[in-house]
Structure formats: structure tokens, C-alpha cells
């Protein structure tokens, strides 16, 4: 019992980047335990995925050829069967929307301790997982008692594995109990496009909950107008209906890579940062010096946006 099993992720015919990151994280763990790294590839075009996942460091790839798209009831059964067959010490999965749709259930059924959203892992006497607490303002180590664990890893924290591997591919047969599949995916829907595509903009002025009231959005629009920039936002602004959905930057919104991204009254939650960290120059205006946005900003002003924004608008008028 020193092996590691990593559950890869795909969606609508494509492997997701986090799958290659899982190989890196899984190899790191397996090196520490002195075990092998196994990958699970469940549903969809498993053979094609297995070929793409054969990177350096992978020992064995187990494919479960059942169904096309993600279904958590199938994943839970497949992972349980693989766990019984391989007997790994640690299971790792992506901390994605789908990862969080099966990992807690798997942990519960296998009676494994679960730690989610890991940004680092070390194995000494036992497993210790580093993760954030208090909305990204602090970081802590969580020690896991006992032998095994299930850990979900934060996307983008580990580099994607490279190099060509020589993994054994094992077509793994799972007797899926159809009676236990009590949810059905009936389709997908994409968020509608509006008149502006924020992912095309060179300069984005992005507004967050710090703006407080709907009527204050005008302050941001005036600044963007004066600068010749486009307005985007964090999630709460869209949740409140203050800006249309296609203006949302982040994990569930758009990914943007402008020359300049100005985050105004945005704390810098991981799901927001996922959508804008590729911006060339990031500028943050926030009155909280401990806001996580300053960890990734290139330039910043720690002050009240209601003082800074009008003054900035004036500079451009």
C-alpha cells in the first residue's frame, strides 16, 4: 500500500489541463511513498485519452470504457472498483466542479479522509496538505491521521507533466450497477454571448463587490469610457444582475488576457483569478492590504475606490 491513484478529467471530448497536473502531483506523492502512479480514465474516448496521458512517470493507466460523458454515479462505482483492485495509499482528483461532484462521495464510501483544494502536499510521518483558509487570506497545513487519504488538487498549482512515458494500459472492466445510477445528464448549455466580448479587449476595467451599490457602477463605466477600456466584473456583480453574464471574469465566466487588467474592489478569490491571471499587467485598487489580489497584482493602490476612481477618471478626461 504505497501506490497513488489519480483520477483524470475530460469534458465533451477533450482532456482537461488539470489531468496532466494530476500526473505531476501524483508522481510527487508516489516518489515520497516509493510507490507506483496509476491513472484512472473513466468514460468517453478512453483509448485516445490514455494515449495522451502516457507521460513520464506514469506506471499504469486504467481505462473504464463506460458511457460518454461524466456521470458521478458511474465515477463513484468505477473509482471504488479500481481502489479495491489496486489498493492505493492515496487517491487524488481535481478540485473542479466535477471533481467535487464525486470525490466527497468516494471518500465517504471508502471511509477515506478527504482534504480538498490542496496547493501542496508532503509525506513525512504521514500526509500533510497545504490549503488556504479564510477566503485566501491565510494558509495552513492539515495533517491526515492514518494510512490513506483522498485529496483534490487545485488546478494550476502543479505544472503539467511532460515527456513520453511507457505506461501499461489496462482496460478495466467495471460491472456498473445501473440501478445505482440515479442521475441523467440530458445536455449542455452555453452561456449566451452579448454585444461585447471581454476576452477580446486590450484594457479591462473590472469591478467587484467593493462597489457596494448598483448605481455606483456608473463610476466604473465613466472611468472605462475616459480610458477607452471595456468594463468587466467579478461574480457577485453578475449574480446581483448589475451587469450581464458575459461580463463575468473567472472560472465560470470568461478567461481574459488583456494588456492591462484593473481590478477595482475585487478581493482576488481563486475562482476569479483563474480567469485573469494571464493578463499582461494587473493593477489592483482595494482598501484591504491583505486582499489576495495583491499577491498576483503587478501594481496596486491600497485605498478607497470611491476616492481613487473619480480622481483617475479625471486624469483621463
Amino acid at each position: 500500500m504505497s501506490d497513488v491513484l489519480a483520477v483524470t478529467e475530460h469534458r465533451r471530448g477533450e482532456l482537461r489541463d488539470v489531468s496532466h497536473e494530476l500526473i505531476t502531483a501524483g508522481r510527487q506523492l508516489a516518489d515520497a511513498t516509493g510507490g507506483d502512479l496509476h491513472l484512472a480514465v473513466i468514460s468517453g474516448n478512453v483509448e485516445e485519452y490514455a494515449e495522451k496521458l502516457d507521460r513520464r512517470g506514469v506506471t499504469e493507466i486504467h481505462t473504464v470504457d463506460y458511457g460518454e460523458e461524466f456521470n458521478h454515479d458511474v465515477y463513484v462505482q468505477a473509482i471504488e472498483a479500481l481502489y479495491d483492485a489496486i489498493g492505493p495509499q492515496y487517491v487524488i482528483a481535481p478540485n473542479t466542479v466535477n471533481g467535487l461532484d464525486y470525490a466527497p462521495a468516494v471518500a465517504q464510501r471508502l471511509d477515506l479522509p478527504l482534504v480538498t483544494d490542496a496547493v501542496d502536499m508532503t509525506v513525512d510521518d504521514g500526509l500533510s496538505v497545504t490549503r488556504e483558509f479564510y477566503a485566501g487570506k491565510t494558509e495552513g497545513d492539515v495533517d491526515v491521521a492514518g494510512e490513506g487519504a483522498l485529496v483534490t488538487i487545485r488546478p494550476g498549482e502543479w505544472p503539467g507533466a511532460e515527456g513520453v512515458g511507457d505506461a501499461v494500459v489496462d482496460a478495466f472492466d467495471v460491472e456498473v450497477d445501473e440501478g445505482a445510477v440515479r442521475s441523467t445528464v440530458t445536455g449542455y448549455q452555453e452561456v449566451g454571448a452579448g454585444d461585447v466580448d471581454i476576452s477580446e479587449a486590450e484594457v479591462l476595467v473590472s469591478v467587484g463587490r467593493g462597489i457596494e451599490e448598483e448605481e455606483n457602477i456608473a463610476l466604473i463605466e465613466e472611468l472605462a469610457d475616459a480610458m477607452g477600456a471595456t468594463v468587466s466584473s467579478s461574480r457577485p456583480i453578475v449574480d446581483n444582475g448589475w451587469l450581464p453574464q458575459d461580463r463575468q471574469v473567472g472560472q465560470s465566466g470568461k478567461k481574459v488576457t488583456p494588456d492591462v487588467y484593473i481590478a477595482i474592489g475585487i478581493s482576488g478569490a481563486v475562482q476569479h483569478v483563474a480567469g485573469m491571471k494571464g493578463s499582461d499587467t494587473i493593477i489592483a485598487i482595494n482598501n484591504d492590504p491583505s486582499a489576495p489580489i495583491f499577491d498576483i497584482a503587478d501594481y496596486g493602490i491600497v485605498d478607497d475606490l470611491f476616492d481613487v476612481v473619480p480622481a483617475l477618471t479625471e486624469e483621463f478626461e
Binding site: A105, A107, P113, V115, T138, A229, G300
Partner: protein, 261 residues
């Protein structure tokens, strides 16, 4: 129909704070109803308004201090509240999702709900795991990160949209009874009315120890061993001075880069 909503009180750190051992010093914490649970409560209350004979019960694992927060949910229209706590829970450095799931499952078994709504995540620990763990514990079906819900109670099916990454939603039919984890933006949470706040004071709020519910906690498998402010990897350059000064410096910097000229 009965709907159980799991609600938690979350701690938010002030702009400036100090860490005391394994948590942020009390003096720098403010407590509030978890944002995601606020949407879950609203969803349950709206279902109650659209259907006959719906009872909405909230369940919380938390200390006495949390009662003020729980009353917020009652003021918004939940009918009753259950709170679970004891000294062992109070002493733990962290309460893992499995423990919360076992305690909440024990409450659910007494209440026998048709639907359980949880939040996607709690804002402070953000495990994002309790709802799905609870479903597994109860043997209920589930769906995580739901941003649209259509309930057909007669057919025993919840048709939901699950919000995936990158502006894609998955449409899924889920058999009831089920646990759904609710995403922000699914509805517009109401503010409690004065009348609601007054009524909330007299709504039942029952307190149980885990032992009363037949749950033996045992040893905790997870423990927090350190907490610190993360070392900043970035080298952010701050513009300093009055708002006029910083705005002018930033404008100059931007204009040099060709913005707004």
C-alpha cells in the same frame, strides 16, 4: 414536502488581523451567514411559496454564538432550526466534511426530508464537500454546483443546471430524495423584513449534542497544524500617497503604456 437546508456561520477576517495559534484572533473576525447558504435558504423558501405544505428546516453544526446567524435564516422564512454542538466539537482544530456529514445525516434521518439544500462551499474553510458527503452518508442522490432548479415533486425528479467551468452548464435530472449544493446567483435572496425578524425570535431552535443523535464522533482524522499569512510571491509595486497622487501616478503609468491616449 419537507426541505432541509444546511446552514453554516462563516468567519471573515478584517483588513488587518493577527493570527493567534491555529486561528485568527477573535478580535479580527466578523461572523455572518455563509453567502452560498443564503441562496440555498432563499431557494427553499421560494419552493415553499410555490407549493402547498412545505416545511423548511435549517440544520447547523455550530456553537451557541451561531444562533444569531441561524435566526437570519428563520427571519427570511425558514420554519424551524436545529443546531448540533458539544465540547468535543468545540475543541477540534478543524471539523472535517465527513464529521459534519455524519452529524447532518443524523438530523436528516430524524427529519426525513424530500430534498436537502446545501451551499456549494463555506466561505471560510471552503471545503466544497459537505453537501455531497452528506448525500453519500444518507444514500441520497445529489448534484453539485446547481444554478437552476426545477422541481417536479410528483414525478420525484429535480431537473437542475450544474454550472461547470468556462460558461458551460450541464443539464441533469436527479432522482429524489436528493442533496443539491446551491450556487450563488440561482435566485435573488431577500432581505428579512422587520416582521420576519420579529417572528424569527419565536420560531423553534432545537439544540442537540451528537450523542443525543446517536453519533459517536471518535478521533478526528484531520487536524490543522499551522496557520499563517501566505508569503507573497508577487512583488507588487504600490503607488503611495493621497488618492489624487496615486491616481495621477497610475494614470501616468498607463498613458506611458499607450492606454487612453
Amino acid at each position: 414536502m419537507k426541505i432541509l437546508v444546511t446552514v453554516t456561520e462563516v468567519a471573515e477576517a478584517d483588513d488587518e488581523f493577527e493570527i493567534d495559534g491555529l486561528s485568527i484572533d477573535e478580535r479580527y473576525l466578523t461572523y455572518d451567514l455563509n453567502e452560498w447558504d443564503n441562496y440555498a435558504v432563499e431557494e427553499a423558501v421560494q419552493i415553499g411559496e410555490e407549493h402547498d405544505d412545505v416545511e423548511v428546516v435549517t440544520a447547523t453544526v455550530g456553537p451557541e454564538r451561531a444562533e444569531e446567524t441561524i435566526r437570519q435564516a428563520l427571519a427570511k422564512g425558514a420554519d424551524r432550526a436545529v443546531r448540533v454542538w458539544d465540547d468535543q466539537l468545540a475543541d477540534a482544530t478543524m471539523i472535517d466534511a465527513a464529521t459534519k456529514a455524519r452529524l447532518l445525516a443524523a438530523v436528516a434521518e430524524e427529519e426525513d426530508p424530500d430534498l436537502v439544500l446545501a451551499g456549494v462551499q463555506s466561505n471560510d474553510v471552503a471545503f466544497g464537500a459537505t453537501g455531497v458527503a452528506l448525500a453519500a452518508e444518507l444514500g441520497f442522490e445529489w448534484a453539485a454546483v446547481v444554478n437552476q432548479l426545477d422541481l417536479d415533486a410528483d414525478a420525484g425528479v429535480a431537473s437542475v443546471h450544474r454550472e461547470l467551468e468556462g460558461g458551460v452548464e450541464e443539464l441533469t435530472d436527479v432522482e429524489l430524495p436528493a442533496v443539491l449544493t446551491i450556487q450563488t446567483g440561482i435566485n435573488e435572496p431577500r432581505y428579512a423584513s422587520l416582521r420576519g425578524i420579529r417572528q424569527a425570535q419565536s420560531k423553534p431552535l432545537d439544540v442537540h449534542a451528537p450523542a443525543d443523535l446517536g453519533v459517536d464522533l471518535g478521533e478526528s482524522t484531520l487536524s490543522l497544524t499551522s496557520l499563517e499569512e501566505p508569503e507573497t510571491e508577487s512583488n507588487v509595486t504600490l503607488f503611495e500617497g493621497s488618492a489624487e497622487e496615486t491616481a495621477s501616478e497610475l494614470a501616468e503609468f498607463l498613458k506611458e503604456r499607450g492606454v487612453g491616449v
